[in-house]
């Protein structure tokens, strides 16, 4: 009888609830008319339940500028006074204001921003718990599922995504209009540049609201070919969430990722890393790797262990191959390519194939390869993969093998899992495999290999777009990407280091990776202010990565998972399925909101497409800007060569980036970003003009003075703020002129405003250089502002620079700090910390964008410096900087994390100049001044 009683109880409870609902359904709908419609930067995440956006709130209008060949979003926010029971958003076609050309509204997709409640904030941003937008649900689906409602007082974001890509065919590939053209703008059919206008209609049934749309398309092109390489890990659990665990399902994922210029890591749903499915595997990858939007793809590997097959009587047959470093170098002909430790390393290796047979009948069952007893991966299968891929390249007459970037999980983050031996085994055997392949490739004209019982012959005479020798170089050029930051113990083993983004946090750290011809980095939950894909971080933390990559010459970015659909059991970390994908269950990794997925399952809305997130949009937008900068770099190289002058785009990119990030720390300033993006779009068109205007150099003296050098062709006059440039740096006879332009940061807002005219067209280039810079010498702060914060002897005194023999060019005073050795007994406990706390921070840092501290290191050696900070409201220290302090003059540049510094303030900096053994010697530093670059 217990069951019936329980059900009656439920009945009574529900009766009460439902009664209330029935009464509320009779309320009047008159309150729907007062809906505030506003907009803001598309890099801002407007929370559903926050309303302190007055400083970034803009009018009800959609106004954006785009290059050709990209996607760009705009957002409108609807904030009703009373409940909205229905709304719909449609966009008209846009019309060119001069030619009448139509920008089809099919190119504008409308999404509803879906909110997820974040109860805890883990990312190092100034975020608070609340309802954050992430999923972008196509509005048609929202209307179909009757989820187009807004509660009174809530913000509801509408995301409009514009697309200026060339005309696409039914497969989503651009239609080629001129197959002989190599430049995208000639090869494909783009919308014309210029200004288009139209209307967004917000329909609330009781009334409608119109919002004007202005789209400005400039003469700059985002290449259809992806030059940034990506590896975004596929977690097949996403297929289950999408209720489509099939090849169709995995292709849906990959097709969607391709649209975002991203490469997944799994092309085939049902396969085993063995010869029997190799053909299917290669063909599945081919679909993507042959697409210009796919820049890289990984190889799979087999890591077969001996099977516990009790009825077999396994016989191990050892086949030993030997190769040496010399034979390897001979093949690669890359003497000097690797660091010296590579050559010095004693890794003349003997690697061994092991054949495990079943039933004693001689059938091959599994292969494995070890190096000196350490299991690596199946080298034989690896060679078969590459061989089968070469065959495919010949069949398709297209060599895309150079896009292969293997990254094996068995040596993922080797420092963390103590996999040194494994790294050595894998890296050595992979090179051995390449050498072996090279040998086989060159052994005869049409070499062959037996794969799955079939002879696979490579007949290079069938290829017209590449030669056998070129393929040989491609094979030898395949490089492993290893997710590790530089460690001396791995020197010589790893070719392509792929550190986390925070390991690019200083020039010193970046130097570790300069030797690589292709640099990679990755994020797997890194927190703001470095690159971050968390839900609470503003879109800038994902998008700015593309800018930083262009600046630091990083080609590849790796992310561990874009499609994980599970949550973790807090108790033991076990993964379990989730019930609600959009508004809950957002933690795939402990203490990280949104880490591990970037898309949402479309099946939940019966869509045959994936549902993107705002984070995914931002990642793509950043990669598109990377392409714009890539394009600018190409143009600058071409112009440089053309005019015979040695310059490139690195300085102007560095200059644009200086307003967006410092080292690896991103500045959360949407206004500055919008300005930098506008500058970037102008930069491209200026370089491409007949004037070939290039900004060939840039410097900042860290005291509020910026200097630029601008090149224009002969016969063109360039102006800044209406005044002709006259300060000549260099005259290139018969070609052009390089001018100098000095921008002192003395005003509240400082900018460079260049114009020039050629062929009847006036070009503009505007770049915000920043707010006022202010120098605070000793006097604004003093010796008493410095105190020890660990067990050391410490002294601080004001001194005269001339007397001390430092800062001869600037003179004045400095604070001399003498930091004694740590008094702790145990080496492990030794620390040398001192604090810098000043009223200056409270009064002057509120509008500080960057803070520069000039420090003179008078110690005998370089110091490993860490700078942390304490916010007054916080109980923990945050890290700002970790960099070596060279002997002599240094300039420390720190960017305070985003947030409201008006109500809170920086209490102090904490400087660490020694830990452990390093804390046993005295350090002498001079603090010269503090320079603030304001917003």
């Amino acid at each position: 009888m217990r069951k019936i009683v329980r059900k009656i109880t439920s009945f009574l409870v529900l009766a009460t609830v439902t009664g209330s609902l029935a009464l509320s359904a009779c309320k009047s709908e008159d309150g729907q008319k007062n809906v505030e419609v506003w907009s803001t930067y598309n890099t801002v995440k407007v929370l559903q339940d926050r309303h302190d956006y007055d400083d970034i709130k803009m009018g009800a209008a959609v106004d954006l500028t785009m290059a050709q060949g990209e996607y760009e979003g705009a957002q409108l926010i609807l904030t009703p006074e009373s409940d909205i029971s229905y709304y719909n958003v449609t966009v008209s076609d846009l019309t060119h204001t001069e030619t009448g050309e139509i920008f089809d509204n099919d190119r504008i997709k409308v999404y509803k921003q879906e909110y997820v409640y974040l109860a805890a904030i883990y990312d190092a941003v100034d975020a608070i718990p609340g309802y954050y937008p992430d999923a972008l649900i196509p509005l048609e689906a929202v209307v179909a599922y009757e989820e187009n409602k807004i509660a009174a007082g809530d913000n509801q974001g509408i995301y409009l995504r514009f697309n200026t890509r060339p005309e696409l065919d039914e497969n989503g590939d651009p239609i080629v209009v001129d197959a002989t053209a190599t430049e995208d703008e000639k090869r494909y059919d783009y919308v014309s540049s210029g200004t288009y206008t139209g209307t967004v209609t917000l329909d609330f049934k009781t009334h409608t609201t119109s919002v004007p749309v202005t789209l400005n398309v400039v003469d700059a092109t985002v290449s259809e070919t992806a030059h940034a390489k990506t590896y975004f890990g596929t977690y097949s659990t996403g297929l289950a969430a999408n209720l489509n665990y099939t090849q169709e399902g995995i292709e849906q994922w990959n097709d969607a990722m391709l649209e975002y210029r991203l490469s997944g890591s799994q092309a085939l749903n049902d396969y085993t890393a063995s010869d029997t499915s190799l053909n299917a595997y290669v063909n599945a990858i081919w679909k993507y790797i042959s697409n210009p939007r796919c820049s890289a793809w990984t190889f799979d590997f087999s890591n077969i262990n001996y099977e516990d097959n009790f009825e077999s009587d396994p016989t191990v047959e050892n086949s030993t191959k030997t190769f040496t470093k010399e034979s390897f170098l001979e093949k690669f002909d890359m003497d000097g390519y690797y660091p010296q430790t590579f050559y010095d390393q004693s890794w003349a290796a003997e690697y061994r194939y092991q054949f495990v047979k079943t039933d004693g009948e001689g059938e091959e069952y599994a292969y494995d390869s070890t190096l000196e007893g350490v299991q690596a991966f199946d080298v034989r299968y690896f060679e078969h993969e590459i061989w089968a891929f070469m065959k495919k390249c010949i069949d398709e007459d297209m060599n895309v093998l150079h896009k292969m970037r293997p990254s094996f999980s068995i040596i993922d983050e080797p420092w963390q899992h103590n996999r040194h031996d494994k790294v050595r085994a894998v890296m050595t055997l992979y090179r051995a495999a390449l050498v072996d392949l090279a040998d086989k490739l060159m052994a005869e004209d049409a070499p062959s290999m037996t794969i799955n019982g079939e002879k696979v012959t490579l007949d290079f005479s069938k290829a017209t777009t590449f030669t056998k020798e070129e393929m040989l170089q491609t094979v030898l050029g395949i490089r492993f990407v290893v997710t590790a930051d530089y460690l001396e113990s791995f020197e010589g083993l790893i070719e392509y280091w792929c550190p986390t983004t925070d390991y690019y946090g200083s020039e010193y750290a970046r130097e570790n990776y300069y030797v690589q011809d292709e640099k990679w980095w990755y994020t797997a939950g890194t927190d703001a202010p470095t690159v971050s894909y968390t839900i609470e971080a503003s879109s800038l933390y994902a998008r700015t990565a593309g800018w930083m990559m262009a600046d630091y010459d990083i080609t590849g970015i790796l992310y561990w998972s874009y499609s994980g659909y599970y949550e973790r059991d807090g108790a033991n970390g076990a993964r379990r399925p989730i019930d609600e994908y959009f508004t809950a269950n957002y933690m795939r990794w402990p203490s990280s909101n949104g880490n591990g997925y970037l898309m949402y399952p479309g099946a939940q809305y019966e869509l045959d497409e994936m549902i993107p997130s705002m984070r995914l949009e931002a990642i793509r937008d950043g990669l598109e800007e990377y392409e714009l900068m890539y394009n600018v770099k190409q143009m600058y190289d071409s112009i440089s060569e053309q005019i015979g002058e040695d310059f490139d785009a690195s300085k102007i990119i560095e200059s644009l980036g200086s307003s967006l990030y410092t080292e690896d720390k991103i500045i959360d300033d949407s206004a500055a970003f919008a300005s930098a993006r506008a500058s970037l779009l102008q930069l491209a068109s200026c370089a491409e003009s007949d004037a070939n205007m290039c900004i060939v150099d840039y410097s900042d003296d860290t005291y509020g003075n910026q200097d630029f050098k601008i090149y224009v062709n002969e016969g063109v006059t360039a102006f800044n703020d209406g005044a002709a440039l006259t300060d000549v740096d260099k005259q290139i006879a018969g070609v052009g002129t390089i001018y100098k332009l000095h921008i002192p940061l003395v005003n509240a807002s400082n900018s460079m405003n260049l114009t020039f005219t050629c062929d009847g067209t006036t070009y503009e280039y505007t770049q915000l250089c920043g707010g006022q810079a202010e120098v605070f010498e000793v006097g604004a702060f003093g010796a008493s502002d410095f105190t020890e914060s660990s067990d050391i002897s410490f002294s601080a005194q004001q001194v005269d620079c001339a007397t001390e023999g430092i800062y001869a060019s600037r003179g004045g005073n400095a604070i001399k700090l003498t930091v004694g050795a740590s008094n702790e007994a145990s080496v492990n406990d030794k620390l040398q910390y001192f604090k810098f706390s000043s009223s200056l921070f409270q009064t002057e840092f509120q509008t500080a964008k960057k803070i520069m501290i000039h420090v003179y290191n008078a110690s005998a050696t370089e110091i490993d410096l860490i700078v942390e900070y304490k916010k007054h409201s916080s109980t923990i220290l945050g890290r700002l900087l970790s960099t070596p302090l060279a002997v002599g003059e240094n300039c420390l540049t720190v960017t305070l994390p985003s947030g409201d510094w008006s109500t809170d303030y920086l209490e102090y900096f904490d400087f660490c100049v020694g830990e452990g053994e390093d804390a046993t010697t005295e350090k002498v530093l001079y603090i010269k001044d503090v320079v603030i670059y304001r917003e």
């Binding site: 439902t18 097949s236 665990y245 049902d270 399925p577």
Partner: protein, 488 residues
């Protein structure tokens, strides 16, 4: 946060709302107005202790909670009324499986959701589950139905043994799955606490071995219900469940002849190639459509439908007879391991045989054979046959495989491995040392004349495994009956 009230509550809410209509000033109907069908459903609920698990009329939670396992295939919402049992929608299933998958296409419906606020995990009073499945294919298709014992991750579950149902082609089938924990316990340990935490209902379909979802078979599922009863489910000791048929004075001792209800779960299977996973059902031999085909014992036989694979000999399939049965049988008829006393005297071991009958339909290749192993529970190892290791299969006839208990020797395989210490392919030092230790355990037998003759023969049997290798070509059917021990 959106919350979805469990189905039963919605139905009840609908009833209540009808009664509240008059309270609205303007007389408009509530959004939750109930239909007459819903009214009837409510009255059924209170009478039959029914909980509607899913009717697929709304995406959330019915579809959003469906969990499909690796390489399952596709699930989508159907609104073609031909394939809707009730309401407007049903779930369309296209199970593909995978050529390289390790299991058949499997999905489950969970019994608990914190987000959607329901919990049906307590199966203490669960009676049965029924669901409608439309088999939209041109032949009868099997579906395995069972209960989920644990959800180990987002893509892995452990299960209780499944029951196989055959779905008639091109028609609706009401699948009624009766919860029988005692029968399941023959093959798997089950506790009362597990009964109170049943995680879900799983369905397993035949793998179509295709990567193209459009080539997959199609099913439609609708109206999944759970029913309760007044009497609680209890767990009996194995000894209360098992019934070994043995007539007084007979020389035949039944191990498993498929005549008892509990025997529907006695076999499990293991094969690495999911394409080769067989379908096992207990059928009446006379109903198999073969003239003169009869069971060799009673009327029921175990039918094994063996799908063809991709590579001859590429994998081995194991049919595993539960260790509980073998152990119980051995303890009752061969050797009392608790008392360490033989029931069959050592001197008579040679006269006793373990045996079964097998019938293979249709032609097979000349070297098609069945291999066998018996697990020694006492020493945690397998015995290998000696003398008659395999049975070469002949088509369209009953054959009997037998194996003298005298030859059921433990560590036989191991002994082979250490025969020649100079032969590196056979000698294994570690195993040799283990064998020496193992031999010591038989010292106790040597002291007692009754047991001395047992030597290293099995005294406590575990799983009995019947193996066959992957074949290519057409699928085939094999019947097994009358697993027994007899005295020659």
């Amino acid at each position: 946060m959106k919350k979805y009230i469990k189905r039963i509550s919605l139905l009840l809410a609908g009833i209540l709302t009808l009664g509240m209509l008059s309270a609205c000033k303007d007389g408009s109907a509530s959004e939750d107005g109930a239909s007459s069908e819903q009214v009837q459903a409510v009255s059924k609920v209170s009478n039959e202790y029914r909980v509607e698990l899913a009717n697929f009329e709304q995406w959330k939670p019915d579809f959003s909670l469906i969990r499909i396992m690796e390489n399952f295939g596709k699930v989508s919402r159907n609104k073609d009324e031909k394939y809707v049992k009730s309401g407007s929608y049903s779930a369309k299933l296209q199970p593909t499986g995978g050529i390289y998958a390790y299991r058949k296409p499997q999905m489950y419906i969970p019994f608990f959701s914190e987000y959607y606020n329901f919990n049906y995990e307590d199966f203490t009073y669960a009676d049965y589950i029924d669901l409608w499945i439309y088999n939209a294919n041109d032949r009868d298709m099997p579906v395995n139905v069972g209960l989920v014992s644990a959800i180990t991750s987002e893509e892995a579950i452990t299960t209780f043994p499944a029951e196989t149902f055959y779905l008639k082609a091109n028609s609706w089938n009401l699948v009624t799955y009766y919860v029988d924990f005692n029968a399941m316990s023959i093959n798997q340990s089950i506790s009362l606490s597990q009964i109170m935490q049943i995680k879900g209902l799983y369905l397993e379909f035949e793998s179509s071995n295709t990567v193209d979802v459009n080539d997959a078979p199609v099913y439609y599922v609708d109206d999944v219900n759970l029913y309760y009863k007044d009497e609680p489910n209890t767990l009996k000791d194995v000894s209360e469940i098992l019934e070994f048929t043995h007539e007084e004075g007979s020389d035949v001792y039944e191990i498993c002849d498929f005549e008892h209800v509990y025997q529907k779960y006695v076999f499990s299977t293991y094969v690495k190639n999911a394409a080769c996973i067989p379908t096992l059902t207990i059928v009446n031999a006379e109903n198999e459509g073969m003239d003169g085909f009869l069971a060799t014992s009673g009327s029921s036989v175990l039918k094994i439908e063996i799908p063809a694979g991709q590579t001859k000999g590429g994998s081995w399939t194991e049919l595993i007879l539960s260790s509980k049965i073998m152990s119980a049988f051995y303890n009752e008829f061969v050797f009392d391991s608790a008392k360490q006393k033989p029931i069959v005297p050592a001197a008579e071991l040679k006269n006793y045989y373990i045996a079964y009958d097998i019938y293979c339909v249709g032609e097979v290749e000349n070297d098609y054979k069945f291999a066998h192993y018996l697990y020694d529970s006492q020493n945690n190892t397998y015995a290998r046959t000696e003398g008659a290791p395999n049975l070469m299969i002949k088509p369209d006839q009953w054959q009997t495989w037998s194996w003298s208990l005298y030859d059921v020797a433990s560590l036989e395989y191991t002994r082979n491995s250490i025969l020649d210490p100079t032969d590196p392919t056979k000698y294994n030092k570690g195993v040799a040392e283990a064998y020496q230790e193992y031999k010591k355990s038989y010292d106790k037998y040597a002291a007692d004349p009754l047991t001395a003759g047992y030597g290293d023969r099995i005294t406590d049997a575990g799983q009995f495994r019947i193996l066959y290798s992957e074949h290519v070509g057409e699928d085939r059917v094999v019947y097994i009956d009358n697993i027994r021990v007899y005295k020659a």
